[in-house]
């Protein structure tokens, strides 16, 4: 029974990781940019959300709306101000730029919010649970998983069937040819990053409701997002979702084996998949 419980809890945990991983998969898929600030931006949004909730008495769902919009704006600024200058065939400049930004952002957050851990009041949602056969399932994790599934499906449909999605895919395939076909690459890139950071608004609310956040936590979220994207196949939207599930289940089963083994189990599964199927589960080639 504890293994079944581990599996269910793992899928629910995967829902949260999927929300980290989607934006990373999108940015990598379209621009070949690995955004090292990905985790820090999520923490930044979470801390802003917690401050908003305590200052203005906003409930978690109002905070969510504000953070998604704010994430979109931050994404456009990040792209226009920094990433458009370093994006290109060579992945190193963007890696270095976002690495530097990550350190600067962590220290700026420490200055503003100090190193204390904080969380977002959930109006009792984080404690609520229901019985499903022999298992007790938390209401919040189910909402998180449902949200992740809807976000993934919506992003996949956007990529496949909309004008914006076609522009993104065309720019991903050959950005110069896309420009020659009338696409403004910088506008498309700004849209992709706005979407990626906007999705982090969801992750920020759920992460700070179910647990705590502090300014230095971003690195962990970055690693989970990165592992999920690699496991699923770099740049693939549904791959990121599946990769997040694999990572969540691995950690959850690992925790059942030994409470100290959970995170390591996730890393081990990641390394095994990297060795056996380096292109990822849904990756081609």
């Amino acid at each position: 029974m504890q293994w079944l419980d581990g599996l269910v809890q793992g899928v629910l945990l995967g829902g949260l990781y999927a929300q980290y991983a989607l934006g990373m998969a999108l940015m990598f898929g379209v621009m070949r940019v690995v955004n090292i600030t990905h985790g820090d931006l999520m923490i930044l949004l979470a801390l802003v959300g917690i401050s908003l909730a305590s200052t203005f008495g906003l409930g978690p769902w109002s905070v969510l709306v504000v953070l998604v919009a704010l994430g979109g704006i931050i994404g456009i600024i990040l792209q226009r101000l920094i990433l458009n200058r370093v994006v290109g065939a060579d992945p190193l400049p963007s890696l270095i730029a976002t690495f530097g930004l990550s350190i600067a952002l962590q220290n700026a957050m420490l200055q503003v919010w100090s190193a204390d851990t904080r969380s977002l009041p959930s109006d009792g949602l984080a404690q609520a649970s229901f019985q499903l056969g022999p298992l007790f399932v938390g209401v919040l994790p189910v909402i998180v998983l449902g949200t992740a599934t809807v976000l993934t499906a919506a992003l996949a449909v956007t990529m496949q069937y909309t004008r914006f999605g076609r522009s993104l895919r065309a720019a991903a395939a050959d950005v110069e040819a896309a420009a020659m076909t009338g696409i403004d690459p910088k506008a498309v890139y700004a849209g992709a990053t706005a979407l990626a950071v906007g999705i982090l608004g969801f992750a920020a609310v759920f992460q700070s409701m179910r647990a705590t956040v502090s300014p230095a936590d971003g690195a962990f979220q970055l690693i989970y997002a990165f592992e999920a994207v690699i496991i699923g196949g770099m740049g693939s939207i549904w791959g990121a979702f599946i990769g997040a599930m694999v990572l969540g289940i691995s950690q959850s089963i690992g925790f059942r084996i030994d409470p100290g083994f959970g995170i390591l189990a996730g890393h081990l599964v990641f390394l095994i998949i990297l060795a056996l199927r380096p292109q990822g589960i849904l990756g081609k080639g």
């Binding site: 076609r166 991903a172 040819a177 420009a179 076909t181 009338g182 403004d184």
Partner: protein, 243 residues
Amino acid sequence: MTAKTLLSTHDLKARYGDFQALYGVDFDIAEGEVVALIGANGAGKSTLLKSIMGLIRVGADMVRLDGRPVGGSKPHHMVADGVAIVPEGRRLFAGMSVLDNLRVAVDHAAPGRGDAWTIERVHALFPILKEKQAVPVQSLSGGQQQMVAIGRALLNQPRLLLCDEISLGLAPKVVKEIYQSIPSISANGTAIVLVEQDVGLAKSSSDRLYCMLEGRVTLTGRSADLSREAIGEAYFGASHAVA
């Protein structure tokens, strides 16, 4: 030739880093005209097209569209102004279907130019593209891919279509099929620049012809009036003239 000049270049100089590729090229094309651009490899034909399209930085006054300086404009602004390109090597969007490749051009067509070209018209021009519309472009043959590239450029609704070596690497039968589409494209009022290695093909399918050598224009005139000897001299340089 009373038609209005659509696009012209003036003392156009272009360079890749330290390497100068164009040494003051004067070129012009009128509305609805078909102009061929011939020359050996490295003569600067593709560089000229890239300079026009905004893929290489050049001075604003070096390229004029409707007499307006447009040199150095971004490629997507050139498309919006009615210039489209069939790039060398086709440069299709791999991983996307034939139809989606065409739709990207429809999405970003030059505004205010109506819809002279529709996906249905492109299908009528190249029927195989309708049959293969759901297929990923990378699985098409070279000739079919070239048809997608041409269709994609047409769906940008260009007034000026730049074609960079559309016969390169294709079987003679396919080349013939593709060149048969040129008259119906220009019948639409679209001016066409054809960069071509095959001198005979260039001569027979154009109104006027420019020959380039080492970054300069060495010969220009009405295609029907130019002799093979004059073209040979301009193509290889006077010292290597073929008898």
